[in-house]
Structures are given as C-alpha cells and as structure tokens.
C-alpha cells in the first residue's frame, strides 16, 4: 500500500482532467460520483497507507521520475512520506471528502456543476502534492497549484466582476509571498546545493551556525511565502474577499487546507527556522499580532462568511504563534482540529446560506435554532470548539499553544508570558465573536424564513465533522519523531486555570451582550470614538486602503503613465527629424529651372572656394 501513495493525488487529478475534457457533457450524478468519489478513494488509500505506515513508522521517499537534471540541479518528482505528511493527507482527503460530498448537494442547481468539481479535484490533487513533495520545487508546484485553484474557485461565479476582483486579489497577494518564497528557494539552492527537503535541512545544519544571516534570510523568505498563503500579516487582506467563492470552497480551501499550507511549510522546514531564532520569534509575533487584529475585526463584521474568514486568519495566527514558540506538534494539532471545526462552521454557514436564499448578513438571520436544528447544533459545536470551550477539539490544541507560549524564554527572556497574555486576549475575543454569531443567528426573533432543509449529503458531513470537532482533541498525533521533542508543561495550575476560564468568560460576555442585552455597552459602542473604532475594525484596520494607496494605485498610475510608450518617443523624434529634413529638402525642389541653375552656381562657388582653401 505504501508504494501506491502516488495514487493518492492521481485519483483527483485524473477525475479533474476527465471532468475538464468532457466539459459538462457528463450527467450530474456521474459528475458527483466522480468528483466526490475520487477524493473518497484517495482517502481510502491514505487510510490504508496510514495503517500500514503506523505499524513500522519509517519515513521513506517514493521517486516517480527525474524531473530535471541540470548541472547539479536535480529535483525529482518524488513523494516523501512521514507522520507529518500522513496527518496532512488525512486532513486533506478526509475533510476534503466530506466537503466534496456536501458540495454535491450544495452546488446541485449550479449550471457549472462539472467545472466546479474539476477545480475542486484539481485543488485536492495540488494540495496533496504540496504536502507530499519531497523537495521544495515540487512543493512549490503544489503551492502554486492550490493558489491557482483557489483563484479559479473564488472566481467561480465569474459573471459578477466583483468575484473576479476578489479572486485576482487572492492570487496576486499570495503571489507576492510566492515570489519571496521563490527567492528563498534560489538562496537555499545556491547555498546548500539541493532543494530536497531532508538533505537540505541537514546541509543547512552543517553549513550554518544558529543565527547565521543567510539562514535567517532564507527563513525570512520562506516565511514570506507562508504569510502569503496563510493570510497572515501583512499579506492577509485577500482572505476575507476570497469568501466570494462558493461556501464549500471556503470551507475546504480557505479554512481547512490551503491556508494552512504556510503552517505546514514552516513545520516542514523547521530545521531551518531553528537556525534562525530571530525569524522564529518573528513568526510568533506575526501570529500573535495577526490573531489579535483579525479577532477585533471579526467582532465587527456583518457577513457570516467574513466573520468566519477573519476567525480563520486569527486561528492561523495561533498556529504561527505555536510554530514561533517551538510548539511544532501543537501547531499541527491545532491545524487539524481547526480544519475540523472551521470546516464544520463553514459548512454550517453554507447550509444557512443555502437554505436562506443566499443571505449572508447575520442581522437578517435570527431565530434559526428551531428552524434548522441540525445546522444549529453543528454550528453550536463548531463555535464551542472555535472558542476552545473545555473538552472540545479546539480546547486541547489551543491550550497546548498557550502553555508553550507561556514557557518561551528565548531569544528574549520573559517574553513568554506576554505572548501568552496576547493569546489569551485573543481567546477571549474568539469566544465573544463566535458566540455573538451563535446568539444573533440562532436566537432572537426570526427574520428570514428558510425555504428548504439540508439533505443527507449536507447533514451527513456536518454530523461527522461535529463528531470530529468534539473528539478531535483526544487524538494523539504521532509527530514526536518528526519534530524536536518538547518537554512536558510545568506551568502552575493558576496559568492552566486562567487558560481554561477565559473562553468561558468570553461566552458569558457574548451571552450578556448579544442575548440578554443586559450589559450596558451601547454607551461605549455608540459614542463617537466607539463608532469610529468599530468602523475602523470593520474595515479590517484599513489595510486594504493602505495597500491601495501604497501599491495598487501607484502601479496603476505608473502603468497608465507608461502606456503611451515613452521609449517610442525617442524613435519618433528620430522619425520627426528625418521628416523635417525631408520636408526642407523637398521644398528646395521648387521645380523652377532658374532656381536649380542658381543652386548649381552656389555649389560651384562653394567648390571653388573649397579648392582655393585647400590649395
């Protein structure tokens, strides 16, 4: 079974190609079968391979063919399989299959049914290649592949130009990170002579001492790629807009899998980041700041999907924080639990949107607790896990992260508690905004009547994800051999207690503010500065405006200024000079014989004068 892991990305890839080639001529049931079935098959192969692998957990490489071989640059088309890969593949194919299944119902009425599944399958294939890649070039192939699929799926409903703009933004912003990452690859190859990840990390260990400038630069460039893909500061602005795509897309790509690719990249190359402690701290800080900024923003959104998008940014911030403080396993653990509960939340949100005539505004929902019970309970569980209420999946992973952060002492002594405190504030906000959502959408007076109920293909995945969101925390990830061992936590019970208590406090706040409406907050929120601040947060701290005026507008201005081809002006001036000369000379051609004679005399005089001069 292990030798057959190449089948895993192949199934969705072949299915995707088939769907593309048939171009919508296939019957819908067939499309659904192919689209969801191929991912299901992959999931089965992952299951089989995983079971076999866990019996004798020895990482191995499967080389398919030599990709290129030029002067020492010989990346292979090869897959690397270890525990980390296994975890990632399980998440991708498992959650991916559930979301595909859900999509077969969600997208039922769409006219481009088969195009949707073609893109989705292609995405799964690319994502699998990303996590299975044995070298960074192949990883980059998957990396760009998922980027393209994300672009295609965000802009899936292409007839609305706004969707096109959102998808372009998503692609271009991540592309900025990708360019940095590409530079990182160049640097790594030039310095270390290989891009195959494991030998490269070994070479890095031997070549560079801890804190080496080049190592830091390489790590920084990779981080650039990671923040782009994972929507962290400063390249996070694309994710909220990316919600323009169909909701299952948001669940799969923009919550569960693709956006966590950055986390995976850093975890995969952690050996490099360990050589650059400063960059590692930067990772933690980026994560912390992002999670706080995004949480504040999420608190003020109206669009249910945007709230979830900001919450995703925020949760990935936690993962970065985990990576930054060296809690690698915790980061991946959170990645997995987040994939469960965020996919659940998105799918539940999708179900609401599906049943509510594509309504996105939470203030036009309300009272859905009774109307859509399955969705309500799914959402409830998802929100609980997101808020990290005790014994949900999110609780365990987030708790590990916060405790690891608390214990961080290097490279700046005493920084750990600050990181912990920041994370805790984030947790509080997370609890508030997630239950704000729950209370506004599902409680209170009904605003819009649902016109249908989710069918089994939607309810089934929801229920399964509910289960995973609850029990996911009890999974023990077999990552100890991949990452450097972390010591057990030695924090006091007080710290532990606060970590547990804060989310509950947040839920309580949310209950008081949004359900009972008994907390007198309107005085603050409706004051002038309150309104201004909320507007500011609502616009995502005005990052879009900043980038517009800093990058987008200058680029457009430069390009339209250059459009007239100033370079051509040089050539045109040569042309004009020749034309002027031509006009002057042709005007001398008066056609008057006498003038010709006279000019001959002029010439004669000149000639004789010249001769006289010379002799």
């Amino acid at each position: 079974m292990l030798q057959a892991i190449w089948l895993i990305p192949l199934f969705p890839f072949v299915s995707s190609v088939l769907l593309m080639v048939t171009a919508g001529r296939m019957p819908r049931t067939m499309v659904a079968l192919l689209g969801a079935g191929s991912v299901g098959l992959s999931a089965l192969v992952v299951l089989g391979a995983g079971l076999e692998f866990m019996r004798a957990p020895e990482p191995f490489t499967l080389t398919l063919w030599h990709w290129m071989q030029v002067d020492g640059f010989n990346p292979e088309f090869a897959f690397y399989f270890d525990q980390l890969t296994l975890v990632m593949m399980s998440v991708i194919t498992g959650v991916g299959f559930l979301i595909h299944l859900y999509s077969t119902e969600f997208m039922q009425d769409d006219r481009d049914y088969s195009r949707y599944f073609a893109y989705m399958n292609m995405f799964v294939a690319a994502m699998l290649i990303l996590v299975m890649a044995d070298n960074l070039l192949l990883l980059f192939l998957g990396w760009e592949g998922v980027g393209v699929c994300s672009y295609l799926l965000v802009g899936f409903w292409y007839e609305d130009p706004a969707n096109g703009a959102a998808s372009r933004k998503a692609f271009v912003v991540t592309r900025v990170g990708d360019a940095a990452m590409a530079l990182g690859l160049f640097l790594l190859f030039t310095e270390l002579g290989t891009l195959t990840i494991q030998p490269m990390l070994e070479a890095a260990n031997q070549t560079w001492a801890s804190g080496d400038t080049l190592a830091a630069l390489a790590a920084l460039l990779l981080l650039g790629g990671a923040v782009g893909k994972s929507a962290q500061l400063p390249l996070h602005t694309w994710l909220p807009d990316a919600m323009a795509g169909p909701t299952p897309v948001s669940a799969l790509i923009h919550a569960a899998t693709m956006v966590t690719a950055g986390v995976y990249l850093i975890a995969r190359t952690h050996g490099l980041f360990l050589l650059a402690p400063d960059v590692l701290l930067l990772v933690a800080l980026v994560g912390l700041i992002t999670l706080l900024l995004a949480a504040f923003t999420a608190l003020n959104q109206h669009d249910i999907k945007r709230i979830l998008a900001y919450s995703t940014i925020s949760q990935i911030g936690y993962m970065f924080l985990a990576l930054g403080v060296g809690a690698w396993s915790a980061g991946i653990f959170h990645l997995m639990t987040h994939a469960f509960f965020k996919a659940l939340l998105f799918l539940a949100a999708g179900a609401i949107i599906h049943c509510l005539h594509h309504e996105h505004d939470i203030f036009k929902m309300g009272g859905l607790r009774k109307k859509l019970p399955v969705v309500f309970w799914s959402f409830m569980i998802g929100a609980a896990a997101l808020a990290a209420l005790p014994f949900t999946a999110g609780f365990f992973s987030k708790d590990q992260i916060l405790l690891s952060a608390f214990e961080l002492h290097a490279p700046i002594a005493g920084i750990g508690p600050w990181l912990w405190a920041g994370g805790l504030l984030g947790a509080l906000l997370t609890a508030i905004y997630s239950f704000r959502l729950v209370f506004i959408v599902f409680f209170g007076a009904a605003q819009t009547e649902p016109d249908k109920q989710p069918g089994w293909r939607m309810a089934g995945p929801l229920s399964l994800l509910c289960v995973l969101s609850i029990i996911g925390g009890w999974f023990v990830l077999p990552l100890s051999s991949v990452f450097p061992a972390a010591d057990g936590h030695h924090v006091s019970g007080l710290v532990e207690g606060i970590s547990i208590g804060v989310p509950l406090l947040g839920v309580a706040f949310a209950w008081l503010i949004y359900y009972r409406r008994s907390l007198p907050v309107t005085g603050i929120t409706e004051s002038d500065s309150g309104v201004a601040l909320r507007g500011y947060w609502y616009r995502g701290w005005d990052f879009d405006r900043l980038y517009d005026s800093l990058l987008v507008n200058p680029f457009v201005a430069v390009s339209s200024a250059l459009k007239s081809e100033w370079v051509d002006a040089i050539y045109h001036s040569v042309v004009r000079f020749c034309q002027a000369l031509h006009r002057g000379l042709s005007q001398s051609q008066t056609g008057k014989m006498r003038w010709y004679a006279t000019s001959m005399v002029f010439g004669l005089i000149a000639l004789i004068t010249l001769l006289g001069w010379v002799y």
């Binding site: 056609g591 014989m593 005399v601």
Partner: protein, 104 residues
C-alpha cells in the same frame, strides 16, 4: 603669325566674362528663348577658352573640341527649341517658371 602676343590669361578672362554674363542671364531671365541664348553664350565662351588654350600650346586639339562643342550646341538648340514650342503650346507662355512639374 609669329609675334602676335595676346596673353592667354587675358583671353581666358574674356572667356570667363562671357561665361559669367551667360550664367547671369540664365539665372535671371524667365523667357525660355533668352535662356537658350544664354546657354549658347556660355557654350561659346567655353569654346573660346579651348581655342585659346589650343593656340597657346600650338596644338589642334583646342579647335577639335570647339567643333565638338559646336555639335553639342547645335543638337541642344534643336531639341531646346522644340521644347520651347511645346512649352508655348502647353502653358501658353514662354515663362520657364510655369513649367515646374519637377517640384518635390
């Protein structure tokens, strides 16, 4: 005719004067007939220079060239006068400036 001493320079200066006169006429007359006359004068002055030089060196070549010039002049005049007639016919004038199709 030994002993006749006309300095060559003087003859050549006369030739130059005639030539210049013809040239000036060529430049300022607009009537085709006068232009042709000016041309004749210029050719003639060239012939004068040749003949003078020939006698100064006691060679017959000068006069031979003069004869050739005569031939050229004759041919030129016959064609030129034909053109004069054509110009008169086409433009109803002998003004050379009227015939300016060569204009660029």
């Amino acid at each position: 005719m030994e002993g006749v001493v006309i300095p060559l320079n003087h003859v050549l200066i006369v030739a130059a004067l005639l030539f210049i006169t013809g040239l000036a006429g060529l430049m300022f007359r607009r009537n085709v007939i006068f232009i042709l006359m000016a041309l004749e004068v210029m050719l003639n002055s060239a012939g004068l220079a040749f003949v003078a030089a020939g006698t100064a060196w006691a060679e017959a070549d000068g006069q031979v060239i003069f004869m050739l010039i005569l031939a050229v002049a004759a041919a030129e005049v016959s064609v030129g006068l034909g053109l004069v007639l054509q110009i008169q016919r086409r433009f109803k004038t002998l003004d050379m400036d009227a015939a300016r199709r060569l204009q660029g």
